[in-house]
Symmetry: D2
Subunit: 436 residues, 4 copies
């Protein structure tokens, strides 16, 4: 977690005070359920709630842990300081530390997922707005970095929308994966605790009881969660790379918004660098780096070993905080992206008319010229445009082999931009689920 790339709302989830608050709730709800089942006295369960509004003293808990070398015991000792040693003596009864730790972690991850889902909604809103705004803004489509055929800026935004919308569904599924809780005791057998305690605690915390846990909640769930974050991060990179390309000096079809006081370079004052999307490219790498450790965490020894713990202390905050920051930055970048439609047209016409070669090729074929001959006819005229800066249409009109197959009017018609945008509405309807 890098402070400069962190937002308070997400950071707060991983604060020790939040963790202790959730631990408290787990223990208190568990006491309630045990009291309800007659396992412990109701008075003791009620007494625990005395600490309901306590701000737990993180430093004090750390101090106790320094002696016990065990975080949950340290917390319980501190809790007893608030509730009273006698009243607190049934707290955690029949439970194991991991019941608290793992259920808490999943509460935190589910909350983090909720923030990330809201973040994605921001990105989606920005993408949709810009998509409709530039639905008909023609620009050249490129494959291999080379001009291909015309498309529109709206379609670019629309495809990022569709991709991010898939990410939303993936994240919702990943959230469901980790929104489970377990209060099943030392090795998951419920030997010392009734399964109904688990059910109650989970219900109160908005979780599903883990069908079968060992000492821990199985880590394939977390692996799937982090893998999903890795995919979302890669989609962010995908958008970022597009914008960085658009902003490069020779292309300049768009620029990140450049505020008044901002300085692009200590040395070259004219520079406006796509630093936000470059940053997003790097942040994507950081989030992705959490995937493999999460996968390595799945295979624990027997009913659990604790190797996963230090990994999760790192990647759980790192991945969620970084991704939250990145999604918000991305929403802002898209929202304020300065777009230059005129440059888009100029770029498209860099090689005059050449991007229409495919249409001409097709027309020749349909006019009865063999595919191979059509290809040769198009290529020989295209090469003059490419190498000598000629105008493709004029060259075609002057090529007797071409005009033998196509009339001037037919050739002229092949250079109509509307031909390329005629299905934009169809695609928008597919993506945004509405008639455009």
């Amino acid at each position: 977690m890098i402070p400069r790339y962190a937002r308070p709302e997400m950071t707060a989830i991983w604060d020790p005070s939040t963790r202790f608050r959730i631990w408290f709730e787990i223990e208190a709800h568990a006491c309630d359920a045990m009291a309800e089942l007659g396992v412990i006295p109701k008075a003791n369960a009620e007494a625990v709630w005395k600490a309901k509004d306590v701000e737990f003293d993180v430093a004090r808990i750390d101090e106790i842990e320094a002696v016990t070398k065990h975080d949950v015991i340290a917390f319980l000792t501190h809790l007893a300081e608030h509730v009273g040693a006698d009243e607190a003596r049934f707290v955690h009864q029949g439970m194991t530390s991991s019941d608290v730790l793992d259920t808490c972690l999943n509460v935190q991850m589910a909350r983090a997922a909720d923030i990330l889902l809201a973040d994605i909604d921001k990105v989606l809103a920005a993408l949709k707005r810009r998509a409709y705004e530039h639905k008909d803004t023609v620009r050249i489509g490129r494959s291999h970095g080379i001009h291909a055929e015309p498309t529109t800026m709206g379609l670019t935004f629309a495809r990022f929308y569709a991709e991010m919308d898939r990410n939303k569904r993936r994240l919702a599924a990943a959230r469901a994966e980790i929104a489970t809780g377990a209060i099943s005791g030392a090795v998951g057998t419920f030997a010392n605790i009734d399964p109904r305690v688990e059910e109650h605690v989970c219900k109160m915390l908005g979780l599903t009881p883990e069908p079968i846990s060992t000492q821990v909640i199985p880590r394939d769930r977390h692996a799937m969660f982090f893998a999903t974050l890795g995919v979302i991060a890669s989609s962010i990179e995908n958008v970022a790379i597009e914008i960085r390309h658009m902003q490069r000096t020779e292309v300049l079809e768009a620029e990140e918004f450049f505020s008044a006081g901002q300085k692009g370079s200590s040395a070259m004052p004219h520079k406006r660098n796509p630093v936000l999307t470059e940053n997003l490219t790097g942040l994507a790498r950081l989030v992705r780096a959490c995937v493999i450790p999460a996968l390595e965490n799945v295979a624990l020894w027997h009913e659990r070993d604790i190797s996963h713990s230090s990994v999760e202390r790192g990647i759980a905050p790192d991945a969620t905080v970084t991704l939250d920051f990145a999604l918000n930055r991305l929403a802002g970048v898209i929202d304020k992206l300065v777009i230059y439609p005129e440059t888009m047209l100029n770029n498209m016409n860099k090689f005059k008319g050449l991007v229409m070669s495919q249409r001409v090729l097709l027309a020749l074929t349909q006019a009865g010229v063999s595919r191979e001959d059509s290809y040769r006819l198009v290529q020989r005229n295209a090469m003059k445009v490419w190498e000598q800066g000629k105008d493709f249409k004029q060259e075609l009109l002057a090529d007797p082999d071409v005009t033998a197959a196509l009339s001037p009017a037919e050739i002229e018609e092949k250079f109509d931009l509307g031909y390329h945008t005629k299905h934009v509405d169809t695609i928008f309807a597919r993506v945004f689920g509405e008639t455009a």
Copy 2:
């Protein structure tokens, strides 16, 4: 793809001949749709099907590609050799190579997913059978590799079942992710091809039309697919590690089936090594290694660059073939695993009665002893078992501070194994969704 870790059914999917067969189907169905729309003559569409039963000549296509340096053009040229140059001249009209390549890849990946889903079913069947077989086979549960409390071998199988069942659902979702097709032309605008062609081809191949494609189908889909395979591989490792631990000489609670002619070691004839599960551990690493490249493939330049292609030529066969082999090997290992219930009991009793310490702790607390005092009482007797080989129950019965709180009968009762297995049926019902 390592031949020794490959099964023919999966390997066949990635054979060039399969690829050309699928390419043919895409082109032929596209011709049908275009003919139906009146874009090309029906006769030409029908002519293409002349190649329906042709075994395409891979070597010949390679030969043409060596000249054209373009695989789809090479195939189309070869197809024309079968169909006739004139009849074939409308094949691929308005399409771009990626329409064929990407739709084909997704057909292959969907087929691979189908095999993997069937593989998981085999693993699930074996796990379920063994789970019920050993539902009540008591063994010690271990955390940190240290004895904790009793559990049963059936629960171990059941948790692997639950995990693999989650993987089945993940894989089904991942299959849906990549079961899309695109016939949308050079940059995805349908400028030269009617969207209805895409719809027809997808329908005939069991795919969903990609809502918005560029030149390619977006790679976040494939990233999600490979990430899911990585999770499944990690679950395989999880089972493999468990079995490897069970087979180690000092534990010996289970062994991989050891066939008659097999030799464990060129040097030590008595050795029976868990080589299959060790192998699975390694194969899991290989499958996992495909995840990051798949994530790196998401961010392509503009409407596409071809960097993803070489990656997919590697990871698509590698990950699916290796995972298919691993799942099958795993199913076999589980199916034939030799289990030693007697050793399980002996291991549990290595430190006589010590694994019951948690119950005694709880009983003391419930009898009114403070948590801290209970802990001390249990620990001082436990240490005598641990360090001097004493019998825990006998020590407790001889400790006046303990007997002051608990009667001999109460102490005796704490050593009942049934206490630990009383919820096994509950858990089985959760996992297998039926009353046990």
Copy 3:
């Protein structure tokens, strides 16, 4: 960087105040060199050193950066507040931000490497001491987790020593890789700054001038550095896994030192868990996770893009702080590891005499029995030990086919442990480079 897994000495390197201190030194030394070359007035160069003992105000610099959105400009503005606007006006002349940032990063990484090298020395010292202490402590060697032949605990320590010693050499090489500096201007051409300035600054900071930089120092250097940390982390995991295996209940050949107040489990007071080495296993995953992002950072656009920066803000502290902590923890674990030689012998004799089977096999072969027959003879007797708990030596003495080839004395001699340890001194001499 996880506070609980961080040591102050390493953390301090990554503190903003350290960074600003190094920036200051780079700028001040650069001014000196420029003054020496007559490019700027000597008085101005001298004036900069007024800030020599200044504690830079991190909050103030952050405040300025909030406006300028550029960290180096913010620092220079703040520096001018100390030095005087007029006196400071030649600071940074002809330089670009990256000259400062990259040279500073490499100073930090070189310092981090120095700490890590000292850490490795601690690990090496502990390993060497324990190796000699247990040079002749016999334990069973295991392959596949299965008993193989006797070895000694000293050899185990010795092999970890040799591995860690290789890591030391790798780290020294990796340190040299990143101990370069660059003061080469906007795109590395020295257009606005004399190469001698770079030479002077590098010399004063203990760096080598980067032979050819662009705007940045090439990132293949950093990639190699982080890759090396990943290898070291994997070696830590290697030791950790060994100790975790040794401590598992059924093996119990060693235990991590367990201090008085420490509680192993909130539920099971007898438990002594190898939590330190489990933790090291997890920390290794975290360090390893920094490798791929560092590799992805190598390919920057043209003379640089800034995508690497956010990555390095994460992985540079994360990897070095975590590895530093892990190496120190490892040194402590090794130093205090409690070793149980008696259990080692007991474990070795679990299957009476069986681990000598290879020797017997060899003896039979040398006595003229064919390899295949020898193998069969050994295996049939070995199986009786394995399956029925018989004593291998007694079985051999009772097998007429065996005694036809080997005399009782010859058989007896095969069970001498000294046979297996006779080359320990040879190996120690190879590893520790001295006569034992």
Copy 4:
């Protein structure tokens, strides 16, 4: 290993026949050494060499392995078929399979490294030639994809040269890491084999004896080897990305060589796509994907487990074959890269004179204008060039605040390109170690 990205020389190293050939040599040399030591009869050692020129029958060995499920035993059985059962009976005596397997693997990896080193030499030669050819070919340097200051194409090649030269040294070090052999018996104690056998075999195969092995050669060595390949692959990506950028339609400063018969696109005949460098980008991802599994292979259980084996069956050929192909492809791309110096100048002047802004800024500062004022002066004129297409020099000459500080001649002088290239020779001397 993808056939289309494989060269025969490297592929041959990983052919089963090569492996068996090396196994034979190891066994035969070991017999020689044992005979020399008097451990086995000289006649038997000599007899083994009867198989010196035998082409081992891979199918036959596979057939035997299908029964024994052990590859080395299968080989030894087959070897005996050539040498004679009686003569062969001392082959492999006192050795363990891994002695053969690991020593063989390292021979293969060392040979692979030799090919890769030769590959790098090809790349270096091409880079050096092109560097000198374009030493003075001016192009714009870019940071963030935005024009910065002039540099030369020669410097671009030179920096790739320096980077690849570092890779050569890294690879040489990595080769030394894995060029070790071990013939130390079942758990590495030399109990059944004299260390001098290891010395002899290693000497004959060009290896160094592993100072301390267990059953296997320690895998940190291989981890370092594969990590190094990952770095090299990332450097390849670095060059590839540069070329892909240069070839994009709007930049077009260079193009991959485009042969006569080649077709860029099935749809757009004018297209010349940088498919080779895009391919290299993908291949880099594939090689990098081998790093993490190699790191995961380091921590084996006790004296070894066999999990590393399947991983290495994948990554050893995959990484070396792919990298070999990629380096060769890269050498070819560089060698034949078509460079357009005129376009470079045109691109640089897209915003007339703007790239000189840093020089003007510096001149103003040196003329006594404060840094902040200079920055503002430069920026306000720069913005007119950027936004209105004005000529930077003309704007400066017309700005009274500028001309108050700088004379027209001084302004004029700032636009001299030679200013930026004056240190090219210095840098070349640093990189190529010679006077230019």
